[in-house]
């Protein structure tokens, strides 16, 4: 027994040395929302470049920002862009900056469970904000009923359901609400976790979906991918052009295209309530956070190589996993921005 243990230790040690010799391993951490996409990408990239292994820990956006700032990982990932304070903290600690690279797009959709109602409902900005502020409390409130003529809405109390844990999904939702409602902006604000005026908290998309499904008269939000993969019914949302849009991969990419024209150089842009007739208004990029300077040129080249591949071939894998592609303009701009990594 002891001999076997000793032998396997030796084998492990030798394997470790050989492994370390032949493979460059790069570590990243952060957002959970794009994790299925990232693990697919890193896997495919490793198949094509056997000498590069990218490890990704989906510990959450906050954790990703923290770890990359601490320098414990080579790159981070986040669903909400770093704020100025965090960027400054990074600059102060390292002496150089950190760059945002959008990878894919996600969206939130409003889901509901009203007994007797199977129609696809239309929601205005005021209706969604009013429900989440606790001002609209009944399903037959005119703010909800007016854009849904012909649907018999009950006079039941609305049960609001939201995510309980900090999440990028919540960030997108509250970012949207802050844009369409001044009251939300001043009273609640946007963030991965907020002080909700009303509602029940459920942990994870699954639990939010489960709570909505199980609770009559519930209303909440889930990620588009989750709604598509689980065939959940969800409503249309009125966009800034006044059209009621159903979320799908095309309308999410359209939101990004609408915003792409005014894309700032650091890519820190919110595309909720985006312009464009076909744009779905509750969408967002998700970003990789890559330091501007690397002490190890091999690592730098590997990460740049990956991002280049991700922007080109990598985008072909997105729709199979229900993520929306980046618009062409954004891809072109990012490819240029890669030169800023030294």
């Amino acid at each position: 027994m002891r001999r076997i243990a000793g032998l396997s230790l030796v084998v492990l040690a030798v394997a470790g040395v050989l492994w370390a010799d032949s493979t460059l391993s790069i570590n990243g951490a952060g957002a959970t929302f794009p994790y299925p996409m990232y693990s697919k990408w890193f896997d495919e990239y490793h198949k094509k470049n056997a000498n590069i292994a990218i490890n990704y820990q989906s510990i959450g956006s906050g954790g990703g920002i923290k770890q990359v700032t601490e320098g414990t990982v080579d790159f981070g990932a986040t669903d909400g862009p770093m704020n100025d304070e965090q960027l400054k903290a990074y600059q102060d600690k390292h002496g150089f900056g950190i760059l945002h690279f959008p990878t894919v797009l996600g969206a939130d959709v409003p889901a509901y469970n009203i007994p007797g109602v199977t129609a696809e409902l239309n929601f205005t900005q005021d209706a969604i904000a009013g429900i989440f502020l606790g001002k609209i409390t009944k399903w037959n409130d005119p703010a909800i009923a007016d854009p849904n003529k012909g649907v018999a809405l009950p006079s039941n109390d609305i049960v609001v359901v939201h995510r309980s844990e900090g999440s990028g999904t919540t960030y997108i939702w509250t970012d949207y609400l802050s844009k369409v409602s001044d009251e939300w902006k001043t009273k609640v604000g946007k963030g991965a976790s907020v002080n909700w005026p009303v509602g029940l908290g459920a942990k994870g998309n699954e639990a939010v979906a489960g709570t909505i499904k199980n609770t009559p008269n519930a209303f909440g939000y889930v990620e588009l991918i989750y709604a598509i993969q689980n065939n959940m019914p969800y409503g249309r949302v009125r966009n800034s052009a006044g059209a009621f849009i159903k979320a799908d991969l095309a309308s999410v990419t359209a939101a990004a295209a609408g915003a792409a024209k005014n894309m700032p150089d650091d890519f820190r842009v919110s595309i909720t309530d985006a312009p464009g007739k076909t744009a779905f208004p509750i969408a967002s990029f998700t970003w990789l956070l890559i330091p501007q300077k690397f002490s190890d040129p091999a690592k730098r080249d590997a990460i740049k190589g990956f991002v280049k591949w991700m922007l080109a071939d990598g985008q072909n894998y997105t729709e199979a996993l229900s993520y929306a592609k980046l618009p062409k303009e954004v891809v072109a701009k990012e490819t240029k921005a890669l030169n800023n990594i030294q």
Binding site: G62, Q86, E165, G166, V194, A207
Partner: protein
């Protein structure tokens, strides 16, 4: 728990009479030092834990001071943090769970140890151990899909109908909330109470039972008046183990409690617990004050456990002094 003593009478003087070197040679001294290190590591880990929690929450402690315990706004955006709703939720759910689990658990343990045939007792013990080993997330899923719908459709409307005049059972019926969390916790801790209490009851010396029976006591009288009081300290131990588990349980609670930081007298309304909010918000907490407030909540949970455990020990001491020869169980 509280009843085990580690000193073996007589070992000390004998060991002391031999020279250090000979003891070293014979291995006694080495064994003593190694096991001492192991024992000391427990203390070390506890001290380090408190130190880390204390250090990590410095900013939040200075900013909010004692108000942290007294305010009930939890707002990560405007950086206002108060722990009261979480403390309340933790205590209420733990209390509900013990109210349900203690009578059921001890009753079952008495049956298994005293009244059931040995084969039945051993078979059931196997299932109880199995239940104790089920991961808490499984209980959470069962909670969401089975307990919550049952509570919403049958239990809570019935409670509201019959006891709606009490503030405990008022407000809208969601299915989730303090009561549901307490019930799921009770299901989780009952195996601990049964398993430990059964062992303790089985270890009560036979002479105790025989003496009671020979004095003319019935089987139940001997169980209830002699065996159970004799095992009282151990049974309390099982309850404290259950309490500790209930206070710290995270996954199952967060899945059924509603995660709403509000204080409400009604057991039907949604609430929040300390462990649940830490698990929910820690990974995505980007603000320094937010992170530190969550760490301070960890400190609060530690203190809460510490205080309740201290009270528990006092309770044991108080009852054993009055009791009949149980100090040395």
């Amino acid at each position: 728990m509280a009843t085990t003593t580690t000193t073996v009478p007589g070992a000390g003087p004998v060991a002391g009479s031999r020279s250090f070197l000979s003891r070293l040679r014979e291995g006694d001294e080495i064994a003593r030092m190694i096991t001492f290190l192991f024992a000391a590591s427990v203390v070390l880990v506890t001290v380090l834990l408190v130190f880390e929690l204390w250090q990590g929450s410095a900013l939040a402690r200075h900013k909010f001071g004692f108000n942290f315990f007294l305010t009930s706004v939890w707002d990560p955006i405007f950086e206002q943090f108060g722990a009261l709703p979480f403390i309340y939720g933790t205590l209420v759910t733990a209390a509900v769970s013990l109210l349900i689990a203690v009578p059921l658990g001890i009753g079952a343990a008495i049956f298994l140890a005293e009244l059931a045939p040995a084969r039945v007792s051993d078979t059931l013990e196997f299932f109880i151990d199995l239940l104790a080993a089920v991961p808490s997330v499984i209980y959470g899923v069962l909670g969401i899909f089975i307990v919550v719908p049952l509570m919403r459709q049958y239990v809570q409307p019935a409670l509201k109908h019959s006891f709606g005049f009490l503030p405990l059972f008022q407000g809208p019926v969601y299915g989730i909330g303090f009561l549901t969390a307490g019930i799921v916790l009770a299901i989780m801790v009952i195996p601990y109470i049964i398993s430990v209490s059964r062992e303790v009851l089985l270890s009560v010396p036979r002479e105790q039972r025989e003496a009671a029976l020979s004095l003319g006591a019935t089987r139940w009288e001997s169980t209830w008046k002699v065996v159970v009081p004799f095992a009282r300290a151990g049974i309390f131990g099982s309850i404290f183990l259950a309490l500790a588990r209930a206070l710290g349980e995270t996954m199952a609670v967060t899945m059924v409690i509603g995660n709403t930081p509000k204080i409400s007298a009604s057991l039907l309304s949604p609430g929040y617990s300390i462990a649940a909010v830490i698990a929910n918000e820690f990974t995505e907490a980007t603000g320094e004050l937010h992170t530190q407030s969550l760490i301070e909540l960890g400190l609060v949970l530690f203190l809460l456990t510490f205080i309740l455990n201290g009270l528990a020990r006092l309770l044991i001491v108080a009852t054993s002094q009055r009791g009949s020869g149980m100090g040395h169980v």
